[in-house]
Symmetry: C3
Subunit: 344 residues, 3 copies
Amino acid sequence: EKAIDWRRGKLSLKSGVQCRALDVETKPSFSVGNKFELEDVIEGQQFDRDTLGAIFEVALEMEKIEKNSAGSQVLKGYLMATLFYEPSTRTRLSFESAMKRLGGEVLTTENAREFSSAAKGETLEDTIRTVEGYADIIVMRHFESGAARRAAATANIPIINAGDGPGQHPTQALLDVYTIQREIGKLDGIKVGLVGDLAYGRTVRSLAYLLAKYKDVKIYFVSPEVVRMKDDIKDYLTAMGVEWEESADLMEVASKCDVVYQTRIQRERFGERIDLYEEARGKYIVDRNVLDVMRKHAVVMHPLPRLDEITIDVDVDPRAAYFRQAKNGLYIRMALLKLLLLGW
Amino acid sequence: EKAIDWRRGKLSLKSGVQCRALDVETKPSFSVGNKFELEDVIEGQQFDRDTLGAIFEVALEMEKIEKNSAGSQVLKGYLMATLFYEPSTRTRLSFESAMKRLGGEVLTTENAREFSSAAKGETLEDTIRTVEGYADIIVMRHFESGAARRAAATANIPIINAGDGPGQHPTQALLDVYTIQREIGKLDGIKVGLVGDLAYGRTVRSLAYLLAKYKDVKIYFVSPEVVRMKDDIKDYLTAMGVEWEESADLMEVASKCDVVYQTRIQRERFGERIDLYEEARGKYIVDRNVLDVMRKHAVVMHPLPRLDEITIDVDVDPRAAYFRQAKNGLYIRMALLKLLLLGW
Amino acid sequence: EKAIDWRRGKLSLKSGVQCRALDVETKPSFSVGNKFELEDVIEGQQFDRDTLGAIFEVALEMEKIEKNSAGSQVLKGYLMATLFYEPSTRTRLSFESAMKRLGGEVLTTENAREFSSAAKGETLEDTIRTVEGYADIIVMRHFESGAARRAAATANIPIINAGDGPGQHPTQALLDVYTIQREIGKLDGIKVGLVGDLAYGRTVRSLAYLLAKYKDVKIYFVSPEVVRMKDDIKDYLTAMGVEWEESADLMEVASKCDVVYQTRIQRERFGERIDLYEEARGKYIVDRNVLDVMRKHAVVMHPLPRLDEITIDVDVDPRAAYFRQAKNGLYIRMALLKLLLLGW
């Protein structure tokens, strides 16, 4: 009965009707009064299927705001602080653009290490208590796993985790799932090939985790031996009834999948074994040959930045979805800012 | 006849009536036509008791703007440049938040050293002449004492000193006095204990100086031997008729004071004598035992960041005022921006 | 028939009448429908005499917006990204001020090197494709000649080159020519002395190039032997019929010129030959003696920052135009942002 066609370019959301339908569906699970239940965005695990669906509905509305360039002013008068303990310009610009696209204002710091603990010994908690006096929401990136959770426990304003070390990067996970929904038109019944660094890649681990919330998903792991997907995720998928298999044949996997999700092999994981890095890095490349066997409706995704694991000549193919995926990060972040500050 | 109750939570300012009364009181001393007499904020010495009172009245108005979250737009169209020759994220964010809370815009630079003298040999004066072409007000932090005064001598737009080396940090001094007014409800007749690094701490020296403008103030100095308050301030207090004494007994002082103002012992002052630093640092700690002897209406203040000179368990006590104090920095800076750009 | 008097302080533009006249004059060459023909600002060579005139007309309008402090909101809802691969605070602040003076918003990054290639090996093209998803226009500074052109070839939004290494810095060139127009009142028939580092100075080379578009211009080159103007520019001027000569006599040149354009000798060009640097640096100084022989209507210009190649006592003379020149950068950048985002 859903009238939303998620495929890009075929947008047919009739907002009046849809929104009412959606209200009925989602009110029981997401709203208490007029307040979205989520108070912070800390980790992928906090999202269930319904929450994801609700966020994606709002993200879709955000795309329309952007297109009309009318520039909604719903967050006018709100102030977001980007508290980055390590630089991540891409993520920071995406959040700041999101805030400004909704009429909000931004306080920026990319050298938050100097600001606090590292420099003078102040605790993260004290820093948060100070900054929450200046802003209405804090977007935080930190080098320590669990830092976002600590900040959220302290703060009286919403915290969004923009990556905490080897830990979580939940907005990346959300934009990945949203992109699949948007490009393939569905999340149930899809086949996804995860390629490249599956051992250390935060994004593929989170994506596998979130995909387990959907029905009849099949996941293929394609990676060099040294960076295979770890057992914790495999066990989780099995427990959730998700079918998965490992494969060394990228061409065969690509021919069957709806999504080929390529990732960068990270040199820093190999220490002095540059030989192993070079071997791993060259093993699975998405190029025109891979595209040739892919299905017509399938897409290639990548969290960016890419080196040469996707060749440049793939870019012109309409199935190259990675720059649209980056743009979707903007819509997801707009949606989260709106939901956390204004509620559902 | 004053109807303002300064104690937080008991705000009973009747703005209509009060403002008229206030106009009458203050016009003679502060306004020439419609223009506040202050053109720059350079040092604590420029403020007399009446000026402080006027600034605090405006700061109190600012609290109400913030609370209503209506977000006044009085500084819409105004541009503030934060020209920081050394990073101070806390101070910078506070100023930028203040400007944005009033609808103004901000140009930020935290690497102003690269911008000018240090990098290519440009004088501070030339830099100021250039930047004043881009902005309506400059908030400057510099590593050299007296730099703000030089900038103000050159600029045709207002300069706010956000700290110049070992020199002045006048907005910190203002927010400290404002916090006492706000928390204790008065400035005349109060007893203040200044604790910790009294030799090098810019804030306690400025605070002692400004408190001398009020009647019947009593100041207690509690510090390790190596960082005792210097004679210049003691002599000044004596000359101004302010009663003061040194004490080694924090408990006794705390039991008598309205304000216990704790500061951080700065390691960098001790060079290689880490042993002296450790001894000084552990000597006067504000903990639950100190709270237990403090009066019910008294407060603990601290300029932040703190290490362990105030224990964490103090934070939950309503008399722990240091995070409210940090927030007051926002209101003081809003008030100054409004006064300097729009006048009284 | 032109009614605009370009001399500062004698502004007599009657906007109603003029604009109509101007529309008629310029429509054929600049506008296709309602869209200015320029899509990017990459290099000085892209501007012909008519384009320069059109940009200058808009810049003049921008001065009036700023003066009235009404703060036009024509770029409200537009987002500019300043993507700086090397810091240049002066240029960045000028662009950001320009954007905000027109009601637009800014995303800032001064550490774009970390963001992309240098850090993880991403290509400039990939970075541009990502950032164009967040913003409506990109102002880019890069360390490599030609980088701006590559960015423009990739981007679907306008690119402004804010300097690419030893290559181009077109907005500086535009503001220089605009300043001459504004200060002298004309560009045809003027005499310009270019002084100082003519071999490596990007600004003087660009200025000489652009001046060749005007009639009866005479250029004097006054420089130490080691940093003489290179043959490519001399040959170009000759080919364009521009009269030029080299001179070792600054006083004589100054007595004849409308504009004395002084530049800084750049130490880094001399390697270990500090002796040559010191000799070159002290050779041609603009001081009160030079002012004394200059014509009453003439001006001294300098791209800033200056060291001691113009003595401080020159600043008070009304013919010292260098700080007005810096301010003109604001108006030129406002004009370009408006033209690129809204069209003619």
